[in-house]
């Protein structure tokens, strides 16, 4: 998930019947901010939060500070397993340090040292067909590949190349790390495979409206 802050209006210049959407009270403002921070991948600046919520930066700043205290359990409340921290000019929810080990164990269990057969096949498809979108890989493999693609990207074997300007679909390709694992210097060194192998996507989208 990527946050596209560039498309947010810089000012309140475009008030689209804001009254309904805009959080009315400070409490609701905090709730709206935590909702955004829950799904935001990149740290969010106060300005971008204020712009999205159409509230003054100062109000947003105060709300963020209250959220930090809230999650830290400052006023006798619960100290959460997560915390709100400012990094690189923006705010993001992180795992609280006290739970790092628990989370690290979980991450280790979720990421075995060997790639699954499904992950390897998906990697092979991406290597030979790049740039390629997730849905095209899914069409070829006839399974959903979302989580496998996440794994491969997390392993640094594939990366997002570009986003199709029309469809918004992300195109993936392999990384130098993958070449390194295969012991080659360039994609040209991949052994040729039959050019006749269909891309499998034909007639596939026709079932969607």
């Amino acid at each position: 998930m990527t946050i596209d802050t560039d498309t947010l209006p810089e000012t309140d210049a475009a008030p689209r019947d804001a009254t309904d959407e805009t959080p009315a009270t400070p409490v609701e403002l905090e709730r709206a901010i935590e909702a955004i921070l829950m799904i935001a991948d990149e740290p969010q600046s106060l300005v971008s939060l204020a712009t999205a919520l159409r509230r003054p930066v100062k109000a947003v700043h105060e709300a963020v500070n209250r959220l930090v205290s809230d999650y830290d359990g400052v006023d006798g409340g619960v100290q959460r397993g997560f915390e709100l921290r400012e990094v690189g000019g923006g705010w993001r929810i992180f795992v609280r340090a006290a739970y790092d080990d628990v989370v690290a164990d979980f991450v280790t269990a979720e990421n075995p040292s060997r790639l699954s057969q499904a992950a390897l096949e998906t990697l092979a498809v991406i290597a030979y067909k790049q740039p390629i979108t997730r849905s095209s890989v899914a069409a070829i493999r006839a399974v959903n590949v979302d989580s496998v693609v996440r794994t491969l990207a997390g392993r640094g074997l594939i990366t997002e190349l570009f986003t199709d300007s029309e469809t918004g679909a992300i195109n993936y390709g392999t990384t130098p790390l993958m070449l390194q694992q295969l012991g080659i210097n360039s994609l040209d060194e991949l052994p040729p495979i039959s050019p006749l192998l269909a891309d499998g996507s034909e007639g596939f989208d026709s079932d969607f409206r």
Binding site: S113, A124, I140, L182
Partner: protein
């Protein structure tokens, strides 16, 4: 197989599902064939238009319209799609005949068979409609859930750094082999000729018979084609084989008037025996 009286209660209970009842579509009968998903869809639309209870016998009106509708279908594409409808049309014709029979005076097995065919069609229509209505629930839930947002963020770097190092054992050739495997089109496998439990009457065998009789180029009526076939199952299978061959553009047929003589003609340009292998696979189970 007969429907229990419970079947009549179905109409009342369908409203419990979310979404508009599919058979209430206002477009009615005049819409293009491509708007229907299949023969059952069209039938349901017809039944809905007349607000007929699906379990009533008075389907003859629907039958007439259905046949009239088919007669208006003229483009090659639509005709192609319409071939699937012929099965339903044939059943409906049977139903119409059955509807004309005096009630309670069933004398021979053929009449019973017609009524069973009617029950079967009703039952299948009910089943189809049930799934169609359930699909509205699916559509609603898929749409609602697609609007929801889950936390799914990039792993913090400190955790990523602690994931176990990748063990890579594939050689370059292994990798290429894997790619070949993954990229080979996943043919949806079809039931081949080699399976052990053939249907009682094989549509494939009947198709082979039809091919053998028509391939010389002489046109032939369906009546001639089934001459000598003494089992009902063989006649049915041979008719289905004709429909299948028509779907494969291996033959054309001509019928000058409704219920008139059906004349068949071989029309395949490139026909190989391999084409027979997959024929009728839809009817296998």
């Amino acid at each position: 197989m007969a429907l229990s009286p419970d079947a009549h209660a179905v109409d009342g209970s369908t409203t419990s599902l979310a979404g508009p009842a599919p058979d209430a579509r206002p477009a009615g009968f005049q819409v293009a064939l491509s708007n229907f998903e299949g023969p059952f869809d069209l039938l349901l639309s017809l039944i809905g238009k007349h607000e007929l209870d699906i379990t009533e016998i008075s389907l003859s009106r629907v039958t007439n319209e259905f046949i009239a509708y088919l007669s208006r279908v003229d483009s090659a594409l639509e005709l192609d799609q319409a071939s699937e409808f012929l099965v339903v049309a044939a059943t409906l014709l049977d139903l119409k005949v059955a509807g004309l029979l005096p009630q309670g005076e069933l004398v021979d097995a053929e009449d019973v068979a017609l009524l069973e065919a009617r029950d079967l069609l009703f039952a299948r229509l009910l089943q189809y409609r049930a799934f169609k209505e359930a699909s509205a629930w699916f559509a609603g839930h898929l749409d609602a859930e697609a609007k929801r947002h889950t936390r799914s963020v990039r792993l913090e770097e400190k955790f990523r750094a602690r994931t176990p190092e990748l063990v890579w054992t594939l050689t370059l050739d292994d990798f290429a082999a894997l790619a070949t495997l993954a990229l080979t089109p996943r043919e949806i496998p079809v039931v081949g000729l080699d399976h052990l439990h053939a249907p009682l009457v094989s549509i494939r065998e009947q198709a082979a018979h039809v091919v053998a009789m028509l391939r010389s180029g002489e046109s032939m009526t369906f009546r001639q084609l089934i001459a000598g076939a003494d089992q009902k199952g063989v006649v049915v299978a041979r008719f289905l084989a004709v429909l299948e061959l028509y779907r494969h553009a291996a033959l054309s047929f001509e019928q000058l008037e409704p219920l008139g003589e059906l004349t068949l003609r071989w029309s395949a340009e490139n026909w190989s025996e391999d084409n027979l292998a997959n024929l009728g696979a839809d009817y296998d189970n």
